[in-house]
């Protein structure tokens, strides 16, 4: 899933300072699971903003709604009326959701309340880790199901580099993923695979090739 984290309250309040009636829009998918932008967070942020503005001379009216997914038109259609009422929408979704909201409601100013961090998952309560680098060409079958593109600080494909010590990366607080790949491949009896030189990656399939678009004609509905 997409991992996101709420921006600081001060930053959000500053971005919303010039608006009087805002719609706080939560998303019921990833950001709800990672406790950043679900129904609960919408409520807390709305109350906090109102409280702050009450202390000044420009009180704030908040509208609150959380939809199934902000990255899909049909769910955004459901809040059309609500959006009309507000002079600004604070999207509590990932960067994808924010942009779908902005595109669906072109005359509304949209504020992102979260910082989108990574594609990953929760490894323990309160800890989320990146797992996928979205490189566009999966190589996990070569590395025992452990991704060096996303998880090696230098995205080395023939690791580990000389900075690996005691299972730790030279970069602070990071595990050396090549240490883990090596141990896993050794345990699975596939060390010989790691002796093969992995050639230069085709980064054109990643973001380096420009914004990516996936088209599947087999599921397209012709007009």
């Amino acid at each position: 899933m997409i991992i996101a984290e709420q921006k600081s309250f001060d930053e959000i309040a500053k971005m919303a300072a010039n608006f009087d009636k805002v719609l706080l829009l939560g998303c019921n998918e990833c950001v709800t699971v990672c406790l950043a932008g679900g129904e609960k967070e919408v409520g807390v942020l709305a109350a906090s903003l109102r409280l702050l503005r009450k202390q000044g001379d420009r009180p704030l009216t908040t509208l609150e709604e959380t939809i199934t997914r902000q990255c899909e038109w049909e769910y955004l259609d459901q809040i059309e009326k609500l959006a009309e009422e507000a002079d600004c929408i604070i999207s509590m979704a990932c960067g994808v959701g924010v942009q779908f909201v902005a595109e669906r409601f072109p005359d509304k100013w949209v504020i992102p309340a979260l910082n989108t961090k990574s594609a990953g998952g929760s490894v323990q309560h309160g800890v989320w880790e990146e797992r996928c680098g979205l490189c566009g060409e999966c190589i996990l079958y070569k590395t025992g199901g452990v991704c060096p593109v996303a998880r090696c600080s230098k995205r080395i494909l023939n690791g580990p580099c000389g900075g690996s010590q005691n299972g730790k990366c030279e970069v602070k607080d990071v595990d050396c993923i090549w240490d883990q790949i090596y141990k896993r491949m050794a345990a699975l009896g596939r060390m010989d695979w790691l002796m093969e030189i992995e050639l230069e990656k085709d980064w054109s399939k990643a973001r380096d090739g420009g914004p990516r678009k996936l088209v599947r004609e087999d599921v397209m509905i012709s007009e």
Binding site: K154, N158, P160, C161, Q165, K172, C176, D179, M195, I197
Partner: protein, 315 residues
């Protein structure tokens, strides 16, 4: 000599025990210090590394520094990391460096930018060090760019170096990775700075078990550590390095710490010279370059040999 080999390569092929030094380029646009160091090392080192923005701190470029070394009559080993350049920039710089007369290069992954003075910079890591080695080899031996396109004339013909770190983990993997580098095209190795001689010997045993010492020239990396304070700092703060407590203590107890530092370094050189498969020593006296001639002399490595067919002075 139609191959137009570097002095470094020629000396290895002659069977000499090779000595290389290292100059860290300055954080300024002035090459005078590099030229001075290069002149100072002349006659004591057979070639000199020029680091490539080491520890991710912006410095005068390795290739430009190599030009200053050439002008001073020395032989440069340019360094190329994967951190700051993609495959287009790397190949372009290599064409340029070779056109300027540089013949040795060392391929490295590069320290992460979080260590340096621009921690908010984007990194590149388009290729890794092994892919880089292979790329340089293919440019030379197959006359192709990384994309496969033919280099129609005047391909760069570098003597290809790589690094090996016997002190990083997992221990056994260090030798596998070295082998991979040789398979990719590495011809000589400079190791990470050796303080833990026992671990280095164990590592060399593994190297010999796999016959790697017969497939590449291995240079042991040493460093004169100026003071107990520096040693303690390195023990704590430099990644990929093992600094034994005994060394810190020995320096601390010495009356003249600098003299002791030289003594320790000379002992280490004499020790590694006797390890089968070690073909040279790489002295990294970064910030203390002026001590290198003293060390080389005390280690009994003078005079430096002549490279057959090459008139260029050492350095």
């Amino acid at each position: 000599m139609s191959e137009n080999k570097s002095r470094l390569q020629t000396l290895f092929e002659q069977g000499e025990f090779v000595v290389t030094g290292e100059i860290g380029p300055p954080k300024s646009a002035n090459g005078e210090g590099i030229r001075k160091h290069a002149e100072h090392l002349k006659g004591y080192c057979d070639a000199t590394n020029l680091t490539d923005n080491q520890t991710a701190i912006v410095r005068l470029s390795s290739i430009a520094a190599g030009m200053h070394v050439l002008k001073a009559g020395g032989e440069p080993i340019i360094q190329m990391t994967c951190r700051d350049r993609n495959r287009i920039a790397i190949q372009s710089d290599l064409l340029g460096a070779y056109s300027l007369g540089m013949k040795n290069m060392l391929c490295l992954t590069g320290d992460h930018q979080s260590f340096g003075n621009h921690p908010t910079a984007a990194n590149v890591f388009d290729v890794d060090s092994i892919q880089l080695i292979r790329m340089v080899k293919r440019m030379r031996d197959e006359r192709v760019f990384a994309c496969g396109e033919e280099i129609k004339k005047d391909e760069p013909r570098f003597f290809i170096g790589a690094v090996a770190n016997p002190f990083a983990d997992p221990f056994e993997v260090r030798v596998y990775r070295m082998e991979k580098k040789i398979n990719a095209g590495a011809q000589f190795f400079q190791t990470q700075i050796i303080f833990d001689l026992e671990r280095f010997e164990r590592w060399m045993e593994l190297v010999r078990e796999r016959g790697l010492h017969e497939r590449a020239y291995i240079m042991a990396g040493v460093m004169p550590v100026k003071s107990a304070k520096v040693a303690a700092y390195m023990q704590k703060s430099v990644s990929g390095m093992i600094v034994p407590d005994e060394m810190v203590t020995r320096l601390k107890q010495a009356e003249d710490q600098q003299a002791e530092a030289v003594e320790i370094c000379v002992e280490q050189i004499k020790h590694v010279m006797n390890i089968k498969g070690v073909r040279g020593v790489h002295i990294m006296a970064v910030g203390w370059e002026e001590i290198v001639p003293v060390i080389v002399e005390k280690a009994g490595l003078l005079p430096r040999p002549q490279a057959a067919g090459i008139t260029q002075a050492a350095g």
